[in-house]
C-alpha cells in the first residue's frame, strides 16, 4: 500500500466537499534499471525510482489534474485545494456518501515471473548478444545494446469507491548493429520486449535476434536507392502493424473522437475498410508488452473488436471519452506515469489474421515493393495523413523478390489505405513498441499478418 486508505478517503472527501463531481488518486512507485552496452563495454548502468501521486478532479466536463512527489495527506489536500481554487469553485457542501473502498477483484494478466537475477547475468546476456551479432559478418563494425527493466506499482482510489492496484513488470532490449564497408554505413535493429521479468531474456532466442539486426544492416548496406512512385506493396507481419496503429488506431481513440478531430468520429457501423480487414485492440494477451490487468483508471481491460470485416464496431474509450461521446468504456484509460492524466490509448492493437499466404500476395502483386521491416512513422489524426519509413525493403518483379532498396517512405491517408488492403495473410505476429501521445509514452504492441496494399505512394529517389 503506497498510501493509507484513510488518507485516500479524506483527500477524496475533501475534493467532493469542494464541489468535484469526481475525484481520483493515482499512486505510483516504479523502479527502473537500464544498461547501455557499446563498443564491447558496459558504458553506463543507471537505476532509479519514480514515485508520486496524481490527483484528477472532474467538474462537469472540465478535467483538472495535478501531481506531487509527496504522499503526505496535507500536501495532497493542499493540491486539491489549489486545483479547485484556481477556478473560484465554491464549496457545494456536497457530502460524500460513506466510501467503503473494497479492493477490486479482477483477472490478473499473467506475467512472466520477475525473477531476481544479479546484474552480472544481465550483462552476460548483453555480451552474448553482442558476440552473436558481430559474429554474423566481419562487416559488422559496431553493436550498441540498451537493456531496460522496470516494475511499475500502481494503486487507484476514486470517489465511486474504487480501490484497485497492480504490479506491472516490463523488460526490453534494443540492439542496433552497424555494418560498414569503406565509407558506406548502414544500421539494423531488433527490439523485443515483454510484460515480464528476466525469464523473458532467458527464453529469448538471442541467435535469432542477433541475426535479424545484423542481416538488416548488411542488406541496407548493399541496398540501392528506392525508386519513387505509386505502386502495390506487401508489408510483412509483426512491426508492419505500426501502420494500422498510426493510420487507424489513433483515429479510433476517443481523445480524438470527442473533439471530432478524427476522420472516423462519426463512422461507427460503417464500412471503413476492405472486407478482408478485421482489427482488434486487446489488453488481455498474456505477457504481451501492451497488456494490463486493469487500465490506469482501475477498469479491467478487455479485448475490443475495432473493425469486423471492414465495419467499424467500437472505439477505444476511457472515462472522459465515455462522458463526452457516450461510447462504452473499454478499459483503455492509460498514462505514462503519475505525471499524466489518463487518456484513451491503445494496448495490443493488431489486424487479425486472414487466409492468404505471402506467396499468394507476391504473385498477385506482380511488380511492386516488399517491405520486410517497417520503421516508425506518424499520423495527423484530423486528416488521417500518415507516413512510415521502410527499414528493410525489396523490389518485386513478376512476384519474385529482387534487389534490396533503401530510403523508402510510405505515405497516404488512413481512410483510403484501409480500403486498399485487399489481401490479409495467415501469419499474424505482434511486436513491441512505444507510443507517444497526450498522456505520455506507453508500452503498446503493434501487429498484423503480412498485407497487400493495392497501391500507395512510395517516397524515394527519382
Amino acid at each position: 500500500m503506497l498510501i493509507q486508505k484513510e488518507t485516500a478517503h479524506d483527500v477524496i472527501a475533501y475534493a467532493v466537499s469542494l464541489g468535484a463531481d469526481f475525484c481520483e488518486l493515482f499512486i505510483e512507485k516504479t523502479s527502473i534499471q537500464s544498461i547501455f552496452y557499446t563498443s564491447k563495454k558496459i558504458k553506463d548502468i543507471s537505476s532509479g525510482i519514480d514515485s508520486g501521486i496524481g490527483v484528477r478532479l472532474i467538474y462537469g466536463d472540465l478535467a483538472l489534474y495535478a501531481y506531487s512527489n509527496s504522499n503526505k495527506k496535507e500536501d495532497l489536500m493542499d493540491m486539491v485545494k489549489k486545483l479547485a481554487s484556481q477556478f473560484s469553485i465554491k464549496s457545494s457542501h456536497k457530502n460524500l456518501a460513506a466510501l467503503n473502498f473494497t479492493p477490486l477483484q479482477y483477472k490478473m494478466i499473467s506475467a512472466l515471473p520477475n525473477k531476481d537475477v544479479l546484474l552480472t547475468e544481465k550483462i552476460e546476456a548483453l555480451k552474448k548478444l553482442d558476440t552473436l551479432t558481430r559474429g554474423h559478418s566481419p562487416l559488422i563494425s559496431q553493436v550498441s545494446i540498451r537493456f531496460l527493466q522496470k516494475e511499475q506499482n500502481i494503486e487507484i482510489y476514486n470517489s465511486e469507491g474504487l480501490h484497485a492496484s497492480e504490479t506491472r513488470p516490463y523488460i526490453r532490449i534494443y540492439s542496433e548493429a552497424v555494418a560498414q564497408d569503406g565509407t558506406e554505413q548502414a544500421t539494423g535493429s531488433v527490439s523485443p520486449g515483454r510484460r515480464g521479468g528476466f525469464n523473458f531474456i532467458e527464453t529469448l532466442n538471442l541467435q535469432e535476434a542477433a541475426e535479424t539486426a545484423a542481416k538488416q544492416a548488411l542488406v541496407v548496406l548493399k541496398a540501392k536507392p528506392c525508386p519513387a512512385g505509386v505502386m502495390p506493396v506487401v508489408i510483412e507481419n509483426g512491426f508492419g502493424g505500426v501502420i494500422f496503429h498510426e493510420a487507424c488506431g489513433h483515429l479510433l481513440e476517443t481523445t480524438s473522437v470527442e473533439k471530432k478531430s478524427s476522420v472516423l468520429w462519426d463512422k461507427k457501423g460503417e464500412m471503413i475498410a476492405h472486407s478482408a480487414v478485421s482489427a482488434v485492440d486487446d489488453g488481455t494477451n498474456e505477457n504481451m508488452w501492451g497488456s494490463l490487468s486493469i487500465d490506469d483508471e482501475g477498469m479491467p481491460t478487455q479485448r475490443t473488436q475495432l473493425i469486423k470485416n471492414g465495419i467499424l464496431e467500437n472505439f477505444i474509450c476511457d472515462k472522459i471519452g465515455n462522458m463526452k461521446t457516450g461510447h462504452a468504456r473499454t478499459g483503455s484509460g492509460r498514462r505514462q506515469s503519475y505525471r499524466f492524466a489518463p487518456a484513451s490509448r491503445m494496448r495490443n492493437t493488431f489486424i487479425d489474421k486472414g487466409t492468404s499466404t505471402l506467396d499468394d500476395m507476391m504473385q498477385s502483386m506482380g511488380d511492386g515493393l516488399y517491405c520486410a521491416a517497417m520503421g516508425g512513422g506518424s499520423v495527423n489524426p484530423g486528416t488521417g495523413e500518415f507516413n512510415f519509413s521502410v527499414n528493410e525493403g525489396y523490389l518485386v518483379k513478376n512476384g519474385k523478390i529482387q534487389n534490396a532498396i533503401k530510403g523508402a517512405t510510405l505515405i497516404g491517408k488512413g481512410a483510403d489505405i484501409l480500403h486498399k488492403i485487399s489481401m490479409v495473410g495467415n501469419n499474424l505476429e505482434l511486436a513491441a513498441g512505444m507510443c507517444g501521445s497526450v498522456s505520455g509514452s506507453i508500452p503498446t504492441t503493434v501487429g498484423q499478418p503480412a498485407l497487400k496494399v493495392d497501391d500507395i505512394l512510395v517516397g524515394g529517389q527519382v
Binding site: 558504458k43 532509479g48 546484474l119 489524426p381 507516413n387 533503401k406 530510403g407 524515394g460
Partner: protein, 441 residues
C-alpha cells in the same frame, strides 16, 4: 538545494566514490486547454529529480530519485556505487571541472498575469480562430502553457552552477473540412509574458496554410529545387545532429567521424552553435559539467571544424571540452548543441526565389525517415510550388528524399537575411537546395 546536493556528494564520497557530481532538476508548469468555448483541461505539474553520477575505480555508476528524503537519497547513493562496480573501466570520463566561483542565474522576467487572464487568453485563441473560417470543424489543439525550470549542478571538486528559465507557450490549430477534403495546421508561440503573446500572428500562421491546403495537390514526381522553412530546416539539422557529436564519433555511429577539416558542405555554408546568441529565446550559460558556454564554429565555409565535446570526449580526442556536455538527472553524460546560426549568404530574396522551386513549410516523419548513420532521408512534406517568389500551387501528399551529405554540398543559393524558427533557436537565411527527389503524382 545547494545544501542537499553538498550533503549527497559528501555521502557518496564517504561511501567510497572517488569523484561525484549531482544534478537537481526542478520544474513547475501549468497548462490550460480550451475547447468549444470552454476550459477543457487544467494541469498543474511540479517535479523534482536528483541525479547522481559517481566514479569509482574509473568506473561510472548512475542513479536518481524523485524523493529527497534521507532513505531515498541513501538508496540512490548506494545504487550508484553498486552500478559502478558492474560497469567497465572508462579511462576518459572523470570529474575535472573546477571553477573559481559559483555561477548562478535565476529565472527572471516572470509572467505576472493572473490565472483568469491566462484562461481568457486560451479561450480567446480558440474563439477567434473559429470565427475566421466557416469550414473549421475542430480546433484539436488549443491552449496555453506556463513553465518554469531550474537546474542545479555541483561536483566533488566544488564547482557549483544554477540556471533557470520561465516562459509561456501558446498554441492553436485548425481542422478544415469541405466535402471529403480536409486540411489541418498547427502553430505555436513562446514569450516571457502573456502581454507579449501575439494571438493574431499565431492564428494567421495557422490559418494561412490550413486554408491554402484545402486546394492542395501533389506535384508530378521529379527533381525539384527546394527551399525549406526555417522550422523545417531546424528539424532536418536536428535529425542529423549526430554528425556533430564527438560521443557518436567515438561510438562509430557518426558518419563524419573522419571528416574533421574536410569539406562537408557548400563553401558558402558556415554554421555556428551559439548558446548566448542575442536574439535566441533560450540562452544557455553553462553545460552539464559546469563549463561556461561559448560560441563554437561547427562548419566554416563548408569545412567541418569541430564536434561537440564534453570533458570525456575531449580526453579521448586529446583536446579541450567545447562546453557541450549534456546530462539530465536521469541520464548519462552526452553532448548536445544549443542555438544554431547559419551565417547569411549574399543573395537577395529575389535571387533565391528566382525560377521554379518547392517551398516546404511542413513535414511528417523526419525522425523515422532519417538514417543518421547513412545520411539517407525520406519524409512526407507539404508546402507550395513557387515561381519567381510567387506561390502558384499549394502542395500536399508528396515525399522528399535525398542524402544529408549531398543536401549540404548541393546548395544553389543562400539569402542574405536571417530568419528564425518559432522557438527562436535556429537562425538561417533562405537557402535553396538543388534537385531533391520528390515523389508525388
Amino acid at each position: 538545494m545547494k545544501n542537499l546536493i553538498q550533503k549527497t556528494i559528501d555521502r557518496a564520497m564517504n561511501s567510497g566514490a572517488d569523484a561525484c557530481d549531482v544534478i537537481i532538476s526542478n520544474g513547475d508548469s501549468m497548462n490550460f486547454s480550451a475547447q468549444d468555448a470552454k476550459l477543457e483541461k487544467f494541469k498543474v505539474a511540479k517535479t523534482s529529480v536528483l541525479g547522481i553520477r559517481v566514479i569509482k575505480n574509473k568506473k561510472i555508476g548512475l542513479s536518481y530519485s524523485e524523493s529527497f528524503d534521507e532513505d531515498a537519497i541513501n538508496f540512490a547513493v548506494k545504487s550508484s556505487l553498486e552500478n559502478a562496480d558492474y560497469s567497465d573501466v572508462n579511462e576518459f570520463e572523470s570529474i575535472q571541472v573546477k571553477n573559481a566561483s559559483d555561477f548562478v542565474k535565476k529565472s527572471t522576467d516572470k509572467d505576472m498575469s493572473s490565472t483568469e487572464e491566462k484562461i481568457e487568453f486560451a479561450l480567446k485563441l480558440e474563439s477567434e480562430i473559429r470565427k475566421r473560417d466557416p469550414r473549421i470543424t475542430a480546433v484539436p489543439y488549443n491552449g496555453l502553457s506556463v513553465a518554469e525550470s531550474q537546474s542545479y549542478y555541483m561536483n566533488s571538486l566544488g564547482t557549483y552552477t544554477e540556471e533557470g528559465e520561465s516562459y509561456l507557450s501558446g498554441y492553436t490549430s485548425a481542422l478544415l473540412k469541405e466535402g471529403d477534403i480536409t486540411s489541418m495546421h498547427y502553430s505555436s508561440m513562446q514569450e516571457r509574458s502573456l502581454a507579449k503573446m501575439d494571438l493574431n500572428k499565431c492564428i494567421e500562421e495557422t490559418l494561412e496554410h490550413a486554408v491554402n491546403w484545402m486546394n492542395a495537390k501533389p506535384v508530378a514526381t521529379g527533381k525539384y529545387d527546394v527551399v525549406f522553412d526555417t522550422e523545417v530546416l531546424s528539424e532536418i539539422l536536428g535529425a542529423f545532429s549526430s554528425c556533430f557529436s564527438a560521443k557518436e564519433a567515438i561510438e562509430k555511429t557518426n558518419p563524419w567521424e573522419n571528416k574533421l577539416n574536410q569539406t562537408v558542405a557548400d563553401a558558402r555554408f558556415t554554421m555556428i552553435d551559439s548558446p548566448l546568441y542575442a536574439d535566441a529565446f533560450f540562452k544557455q550559460h553553462v553545460d552539464s559539467e559546469g563549463v561556461l558556454k561559448k560560441d563554437l564554429t561547427l562548419i566554416d565555409n563548408g569545412v567541418l571544424k569541430s564536434f561537440f565535446h564534453n570533458t570525456a570526449t575531449a580526453n579521448y580526442y586529446k583536446t579541450t571540452t567545447t562546453g557541450h556536455a549534456a546530462r539530465g538527472a536521469k541520464s548519462a553524460l552526452g553532448v548536445s548543441g544549443s542555438n544554431w546560426l547559419i551565417k547569411p549568404g549574399t543573395s537577395s530574396r529575389d535571387e533565391v526565389t528566382d525560377g521554379t522551386y518547392l517551398e516546404v513549410v511542413d513535414v511528417m516523419g523526419i525522425g523515422p525517415g532519417s538514417d543518421s548513420v547513412s545520411g539517407e532521408f525520406s519524409f512526407g512534406a507539404s508546402g507550395y510550388l513557387c515561381k519567381n517568389g510567387k506561390r502558384i500551387q499549394p502542395v500536399k501528399g508528396i515525399t522528399i528524399a535525398g542524402n544529408f551529405n549531398k543536401l549540404l554540398t548541393g546548395i544553389k543559393c543562400m539569402g542574405r537575411d536571417l530568419q528564425h524558427n518559432h522557438s527562436r533557436g535556429m537562425f538561417a537565411p533562405l537557402i535553396k537546395f538543388s534537385e531533391l527527389s520528390v515523389a508525388g503524382k
